[in-house]
């Protein structure tokens, strides 16, 4: 990690006896003044475009209608939260959301890392570049098309998978009508689609590793495997940790579009998540406040999870968000 830089100025200052706390802060800021020049425009952007509109989060606590506006709509407190918590499906929705996400993390998080590591070990440049390019393409295929392909492949009548099963003497399985299969299909098709794109960040991190480290290791007689384990992976760990912390900060986010396209009432049991439930409710009639309230609930849980993991990470490793 980049360490503190002791400039001549600072060395001087540090020898002065007992500066007052306030002065200390002012001086520190002054010392970082050029960094402030860089960060101030970004800060202004956040204040104007992210913080100013935040008063809209109130919608979760009001019976909002656009005409009366956010300030004019009547306050209802926790009504919508209560409605959601009291739903017969509350626990099921939470369970499904968490289960799908955790499954996704266990399978989908390591995949891009492994892919990047493997690509890194390939010496043939042409092969490496080709694979790199092809493997990120599925990311660009729209969800609608991907699900359409899945439906085709898994069809009991004419899909490839079932043809193979039949030829091996088995009975065709109607995959998309089985609650037990839903999560696996969802997660693994997600890996298929996103692993390549996800590996880009790790490839960039790998490209930034100091080659003189490898040179020194070769001189010392380290084998390829040893180089991988003792140089490559340790250099990649900080990036991996940060990505994992960020990923945990999305623990309650399951996008509704893909689930919507893949599920049907038979698989609600394992497939119905918070976002699809809110969507279906929105069809009955525009429910701004309700969906904002649920969104807020999700965000709070996500945020707490992030803080938790960040704290753990800070204690256990040197890497953390703050």
């Amino acid at each position: 990690m980049a360490d503190g830089f002791a400039t001549p100025h600072e060395m001087q200052r540090m020898t002065k006896p007992n500066p007052s706390k306030r002065n200390e802060i002012m001086r520190s800021i002054y010392k970082s003044r050029y960094l402030y020049v860089l960060i101030i425009p970004v800060f202004i952007y956040y204040v104007i475009f992210q913080y100013v509109p935040m008063y809209g989060a109130q919608i979760a606590f009001k019976n909002f209608n656009p005409f009366q506006g956010i300030w004019g709509s009547p306050w209802v407190g926790f009504k919508y939260f209560t409605q959601f918590f009291e739903s017969v499906y509350f626990l099921r929705l939470i369970r499904n959301t968490l289960a799908i996400n955790i499954y996704n993390i266990v399978v989908g998080f390591p995949a891009p890392i492994l892919l990047a590591l493997m690509l890194n070990e390939v010496k043939n440049r042409v092969f490496k570049r080709t694979v790199q390019t092809v493997v990120y393409l599925p990311h660009f295929i729209s969800t609608v098309v991907i699900v359409g392909m899945l439906v085709s492949f898994l069809s009991p009548r004419s899909g490839i998978v079932n043809m193979v099963i039949k030829s091996l003497g088995g009975q065709p399985i109607q995959f998309l009508a089985q609650p037990g299969w839903f999560r696996s299909i969802y997660v693994w098709s997600g890996v298929w689609q996103e692993a390549g794109w996800g590996s880009i960040i790790y490839l960039a991190a790998l490209a930034g590793i100091d080659p003189s480290l490898y040179e020194a290791a070769v001189v010392d007689g380290a084998s390829r495997w040893k180089r991988l384990v003792h140089i490559t992976i340790p250099c990649l760990i900080p990036t991996i940790i940060i990505m994992l912390i960020l990923r945990m900060g999305g623990i309650f986010n399951v996008g509704f579009e893909k689930i919507m396209l893949m599920y049907n009432p038979v698989t609600y049991e394992t497939a119905d998540v918070i976002s699809t439930y809110v969507y279906r409710r929105g069809i009955l009639g525009a429910e701004y406040s309700f969906s904002t309230a649920i969104g807020l609930f999700n965000s709070v849980i996500n945020f707490v999870t992030l803080i938790t993991f960040n704290t753990i990470s800070r204690k256990v490793s040197e890497t953390s968000l703050w």
């Binding site: 656009p66 005409f67 956010i70 409605q83 739903s87 998309l176 009508a177 279906r280 525009a286």
Partner: protein, 530 residues
């Protein structure tokens, strides 16, 4: 490289700072309002501008380019400034417009659930007096067809919106089957469930597609709802409806005893492979694919997207292919109900006048025109000479519309001159449907739909609007009920849940508060009937 980066940094910083100080720069300015309302008929002396919000359907050209509106502007000297986002994102824009406080003069296609709310808040104005004074065409329709007036009048006697309606309201969705297969197997068009069973079984066993494989799918559809809709033969609907045998009280289909009987029959068909085993996971594409593979014998579908589409495109691949309609299925209690009705007015809120409108009378006249003979002709048929000619006093579409030289469909050509293929404040003339409908569809409408309308009207709910508080109760209850009902009914049909558990299921639905929802519907329907 560094210099470039620095230059860019300066540029971007400059852009940011200047944008911060842009203030009230390039905002759209409200067109300057001209003088007073014009109260006498005929062209107003000065050009006035009305701002209108309406979604633009995908096949339509931008509204300000439509021939109909251009011609109308010349006639009336009223310029319409259209705010027309793509129709599928209309709701977002509509909500933003309401939130911004910058209301247009007219809003078209406001969601029905918002009507009462915004009327109460004064965002939109009552139209009774305006209609009385300046809307002669609509008035005469309301006298001819009192249900129109009833539909648009709220329980406080006030009218808040202009409707859209058909000259002859019919409906959509019907049961259809392969006429060529029927003929090949020497069968008649089935009417009762037993007859349907026989026909479907024959489709399955007697290889009507002649390829030596038992690959036929007797009945299919683009989703499980198509199978569920078969319950109408038992005199129940797959939703809220009014039960004629119970004095017209509101019932909820999926918990009725007759629904269970219907389900038993449907489940039996599914078990014997007479209903597509994949019907629960089918989507539109999968269903159409199967039709194209020449394996589906019967289905339930839409007139345009299915009946017309299949009959016009599939005969090229499948020789002899022909879809015909059937009468509604006649169940054991003698009910023959066609559940997808067009009511006396369409459910869309075709137009409301907002409180910002300074030309209320002129606006009313502008809208009213399309209910009258001249305006309806313009809206439905376009420009005389270009889009239609008069023959024996009847408007007949030209080849530009029906046999477009550039291969455009008539829907697209009509979308180039008016909004007649989506919703609007006008009356849809029968002459239009007559000329553009596929012959099979025309036959279905006259033989299998029109005669059954009076019966269907006893079941289908009228166009009601819920009070805000009632609506909240309804939505709160139905969110969970719908989920549970959808799950359970699908399982009953697929056989993964035995029908012996029906009573437990009904108990659970009752426990979710379905009675509260039924009460809300009942109250609103009663208010409507007064």
């Amino acid at each position: 490289m560094n210099k470039l980066k620095r230059a860019m940094a300066v540029l971007v910083a400059f852009a940011l700072v200047s944008m911060l100080f842009a203030g009230c720069g390039s905002k759209q300015d409200a067109k300057s309002s001209q003088s007073s309302d014009q109260s006498q008929s005929g062209k107003p002396a000065q050009k006035i501008t009305l701002k209108m919000l309406k979604g633009k359907a995908a096949h339509e050209v931008p509204l300000d380019q439509m021939d109909v509106f251009k011609a109308y502007e010349e006639k009336t000297n009223i310029h319409v400034q259209w705010d027309s986002p793509p129709a599928e994102n209309y709701l977002e824009r509509y909500n933003l417009v309401m939130a911004s406080g910058d209301l247009p003069d007219v809003i078209m296609d406001m969601p029905r659930g918002d009507l009462i709310k915004y009327a109460q808040m004064g965002a939109i104005i009552p139209l009774n007096d305006l209609i009385e004074k300046s809307s002669p065409n609509l008035k005469s329709w309301m006298q001819k067809r009192p249900e129109i007036k009833k539909d648009i009048t709220g329980k406080d006697g006030k009218i808040f919106y202009f409707p859209m309606f058909d000259e002859l309201p019919l409906g959509n969705n019907a049961l259809g089957l392969r006429e060529d297969w029927l003929k090949k197997l020497n069968l008649q068009i089935p009417v009762t469930p037993d007859e349907w069973y026989t026909v479907l079984k024959a489709f399955k066993e007697k290889d009507p597609n002649g390829n030596g494989k038992a690959d036929e799918i007797p009945f299919s559809g683009n989703g499980i709802n198509m199978a569920r809709s078969l319950v109408s033969a038992w005199g129940v609907l797959d939703t809220f409806y009014t039960e004629p045998k119970d004095g017209g009280k509101v019932h909820y289909g999926p918990i009725e005893g007759k629904y269970k009987e219907a389900l038993a029959w449907i489940a039996k068909l599914y078990k014997e492979g007479l209903i597509d085993s994949e019907i629960a996971t089918n989507d539109e594409k999968a269903f159409q694919g199967k039709m194209g593979q020449n394996v589906v014998g019967a289905f339930r579908g839409a007139f345009g997207g299915h009946f017309s589409a299949f009959n016009s495109t599939l005969p090229k691949q499948i020789p002899g292919f022909k879809i015909t309609g059937t009468p509604p299925m006649k169940g054991p209690y003698g009910d023959q109900v066609h559940a997808n009705l067009d009511l006396s007015t369409r459910s869309t809120i075709a137009a409301v006048i907002t409180k910002s409108n300074k030309y209320q009378e002129a606006t009313t006249k502008w809208i009213d025109y399309f209910y009258g003979q001249e305006g309806a002709l313009l809206m439905n048929f376009g420009i005389e000479g270009k889009h239609y000619t008069m023959q024996n006093g009847q408007p007949i579409y030209t080849d530009l519309v029906l046999k477009n030289p550039n291969g455009l469909s008539s829907k697209q050509v009509r979308g180039s001159f008016s909004i007649t293929q989506s919703t609007g404040t006008y009356v849809l003339l029968k002459a239009q449907s007559d000329q553009v409908d596929d012959p099979a569809v025309k036959e279905i409408k006259s033989k299998y739909l029109e005669p059954y309308i009076p019966e269907a009207k006893k079941f289908v709910l009228p166009n009601i609007s819920f009070d805000q508080k009632d609506d909240e109760v309804r939505r709160q209850v139905m969110a969970d009920v719908q989920t549970y009902v959808d799950e359970m009914i699908t399982k009953f049909i697929l056989g993964t849940e035995p029908l012996d558990n029906w009573d437990k299921y009904v108990q659970k639905v009752k426990g979710m508060g379905i009675d509260k929802a039924i009460a809300v519907y009942q109250k609103t329907v009663d208010d409507y009937k007064k």
